[in-house]
């Protein structure tokens, strides 16, 4: 049977040599190399569940009255878009499962990309010859953040609308062109016209996913062309020699198994753990908002930044040069991604002066400066992320919100520096410890040899 299939394909495509090579492609073995794979599988689940949802979703903002099975909303005015998502949740059989799985998959997708990025950063995997792979990966992350934001904006519940209002404020805050850009996207001042929802819809289900798919193809293609990096686990791994498990038979069932487990966990989450119960938020109107609203986790850092910036617009005469939301909503993510995009150049030019090719990974301790700076920036972003949620802390512990914000306004500049210095110190100490160990082993060895000869 197998022979027949192989022969059939080879005779018609001539694929046998290529296929043989592909199946013997070597995957180095380390758990952290699976993070990117998890993201890939979450993306597959997103495309599948998303396609299903698109069969039921309506992007119309026409005003309709709800008469469905969910009693608290009965008789309420809402857009057809929100109505269709409430229907997916209550009237389409298995619709709620697919919708929640889709939402969970989005959260897991971005989380996996983020952890993958941390792994790549702190092991120096982005170094020559893999800078392009890294840059494509970062671009995928940016597109994914926008894609996720569009996804929950489409629902048109109260939280969606508040998120869109903030997105609009950030868009029009861009110096010189903001208002014009806002009008271009929203087809006029907020809340825009019907056209805006159909734009979001096509962007969410076609433009951005296709973009992610193309970038992903490039990302994976580059990985395959230059092969995987590997940790130095023994004398066999070198800059020239890659040690690992072949695609077949070793890696294939493992990857398939991982895919199914990821899918299973997402469906279990979608079935058992409620996420974004949109029927509780109700429909959005520009004049409504709710306290304690939080976005999906991956936008928390932007909320934190928007909240921490003190109150000022940069104004020259009557001209508002930089409206306030620009700092937290646009400049801050540009600085963070700018840092990530530039990092390989920065490190090469100012820190390592290393222009060589690298296939072996470094451990965090092997590059103390990279670890220190990376950890500092990570701490900075994390603290701002936490600042986005401190209003919940004030409720829990009855502390004054303004005081906490003032503490954060200073702490986000001091703590990352301290943490960076500590990280550097820890790396150096770990290196020294290893050096000591080596010296001790060598001395013991020598002593033993001397004892034997005497």
């Amino acid at each position: 049977m197998i022979r027949k299939a192989v022969r059939f394909l080879d005779q018609r495509t001539g694929d046998a040599p290529l296929l043989r090579k592909t199946l013997r492609y070597v995957f180095p073995d380390h758990w952290s190399f699976l993070l990117g794979e998890v993201a890939l599988y979450a993306f597959a689940i997103l495309v599948m569940t998303g396609t299903y949802l698109a069969l039921f979703y309506s992007d119309s903002t026409k005003d309709v009255t709800y008469h469905g099975p969910y009693k608290p909303l009965q008789g309420q005015h809402m857009t057809e878009a929100y109505h269709s998502v409430v229907d997916i949740s209550f009237s389409v059989r298995a619709g709620l499962l697919i919708r929640q799985t889709h939402h969970w998959a989005a959260d897991v997708f971005v989380a996996a990309i983020f952890l993958h990025l941390l792994r790549v950063f702190f092991t120096g995997a982005y170094r020559k010859p893999r800078e392009l792979t890294y840059l494509l990966g970062l671009t995928i992350l940016i597109v994914s953040l926008l894609e996720g934001y569009l996804g929950y904006s489409l629902v048109d519940d109260l939280l969606s609308g508040m998120g869109l209002a903030i997105g609009y404020a950030v868009a029009i805050s861009i110096p010189f062109v903001g208002a014009n850009l806002g009008e271009l996207i929203w087809n006029g001042p907020f809340p825009g016209t019907d056209a805006f929802f159909s734009r979001m819809y096509i962007a969410h289900v076609f433009i951005f996913p296709s973009l992610i798919a193309v970038l992903l193809g490039g990302h994976l293609g580059l990985v395959a062309l230059k092969h995987h990096t590997q940790f130095k686990r023994g004398p066999r791994q070198t800059e020239r020699k890659l040690v690992g498990v072949p695609t077949f038979p070793g890696q294939t069932p493992r990857s398939l198994g991982l895919f199914l487990v990821v899918a299973g966990v997402l469906f279990l989450l979608g079935g058992l753990v409620q996420i974004n119960p949109i029927w509780l938020w109700g429909p959005y109107h520009t004049y409504l908002s709710t306290n304690g609203a939080q976005p999906d986790w991956y936008l928390g850092w932007l909320i934190g930044a928007l909240r921490l910036v003190p109150h000022f617009d940069v104004v020259i005469g009557n001209y508002t040069l930089v409206p306030n939301p620009f700092w937290g909503g646009a400049l801050f993510p540009m600085v963070v991604f700018g840092f990530l995009f530039m990092w390989p150049q920065i490190e090469r030019r100012f820190i390592s002066h290393d222009y060589g090719f690298h296939n072996l990974l470094e451990r965090p301790r092997d590059a103390p400066m990279r670890t220190a700076i990376g950890f500092g920036v990570f701490t900075w972003v994390t603290m701002i992320f936490i600042a986005g949620g401190v209003d919940r802390v004030t409720v829990l512990f009855d502390v004054d919100y303004a005081s906490i914000i003032w503490v954060f306004r200073f702490a986000i500049w001091i703590v990352p520096v301290i943490f960076g210095i500590i990280a550097h110190r820890v790396c150096v100490e770990l290196q020294r410890g290893e050096e000591m160990e080596r010296v001790r082993k060598r001395a013991e060895h020598r002593a033993k040899a001397m004892a034997e000869t005497s």
């Binding site: 013997r24 059989r93 298995a94 499962l97 929640q100 209002a165 903030i166 609009y168 029009i172 805050s173 110096p175 014009n180 009008e183 271009l184 996207i185 929203w186 087809n187 006029g188 001042p189 907020f190 092969h227 066999r236 020239r240 020699k241 890659l242 040690v243 498990v245 072949p246 038979p249 070793g250 398939l256 198994g257 991982l258 895919f259 199914l260 487990v261 299973g264 279990l268 079935g271 058992l272 520009t286 004049y287 409504l288 908002s289 304690g292 609203a293 909320i303 928007l306 921490l308 003190p310 109150h311 001209y319 508002t320 040069l321 409206p323 909503g329 296939n359 209003d391 303004a402 914000i405």
Partner: protein, 332 residues
Amino acid sequence: MSKVKNFLVSAAVLLAGRGRPKLPAQERIVPDKPPRPGWELVAISLFGLGALCAIAFPIVYGLADHLPHENQLLGASVGLAFVLIGAGLVVTAQQLIVTEELEETYPENEHPEEQETLVQMVEESGSRLTRKRLFMVSLGGAVGALGLALITPAVSLGPVFRISPFFGTPWRRGRRLVDENGRPWKASDIEEDDFYTAFPENANKEELGSPLVLVRLPKNSFHLPPELAHYPADGIVAYSKICTHAGCAISLYRAPLFQPDEPKPALVCPCHYSTFDPAAGGTVLFGPAGRNLPMLPLHIDGKGELRASGNFNEAVGPSWWGVRNRKPNPHS
């Protein structure tokens, strides 16, 4: 008869045998390892259990109307099916499939000769050109112009250069303030330590220039700048409900109900906690907003109903480059 017997015997052998067909004597590619019947059984049972869960899914789906926790059962069945089959595959990968470690040489870092050839090819292909730079500039210019031409239709997406709508609001002198259901607000409805949402009568409630927050303050607590001194009506003040920071609706009112030492009354936006002072013309007390909350002048008509005496003192909504250029005006 013997045919039947042969058939039965071979069938029995096929069913019972743990058939490992003898490979013809040839060198193995994948190394030979001893069988692991225990793990094989684990994998097979995992697949079996996965199949059962998968079969449960359509059954739950079919009975959904008669089952409690339909969503949970659906998710559990299909999720467990995936996880169990996946676990079976992982067991297969780790314990059953012959795992071998291979060494492979990394691809060449670079191919200097190929690079040379490519460069040479490109350079030689242009050997007929005499004015290379001019040629390249004209080609680049042409492509650039074409690119510009092709993105022009994007301008149709919105009224890019029409900024006046940003300054338009439905408010004009004499317009009545109504609640969400269109009922006019009477001055006597507005009590201290509470806040109310108002809209312009017979206007679109959804546009940013429409919604107001109304609060009543003790008359001696005002410290308005002179140009706003006439804006309140009988201690009632009206501000745009849209935060000047990020455009969320201001839906929190910090009113000191009991302790005299509590901070003074303030309007708060729950998105980023911009805090405005309603007694001082909407100045920013705390939070990121860069502009005061726009204030609407009020008066009380003969029937005791609240009416606007004009438009806001400042442009409504989140800030953009032109937000301080003009005062808002009623749109035509």
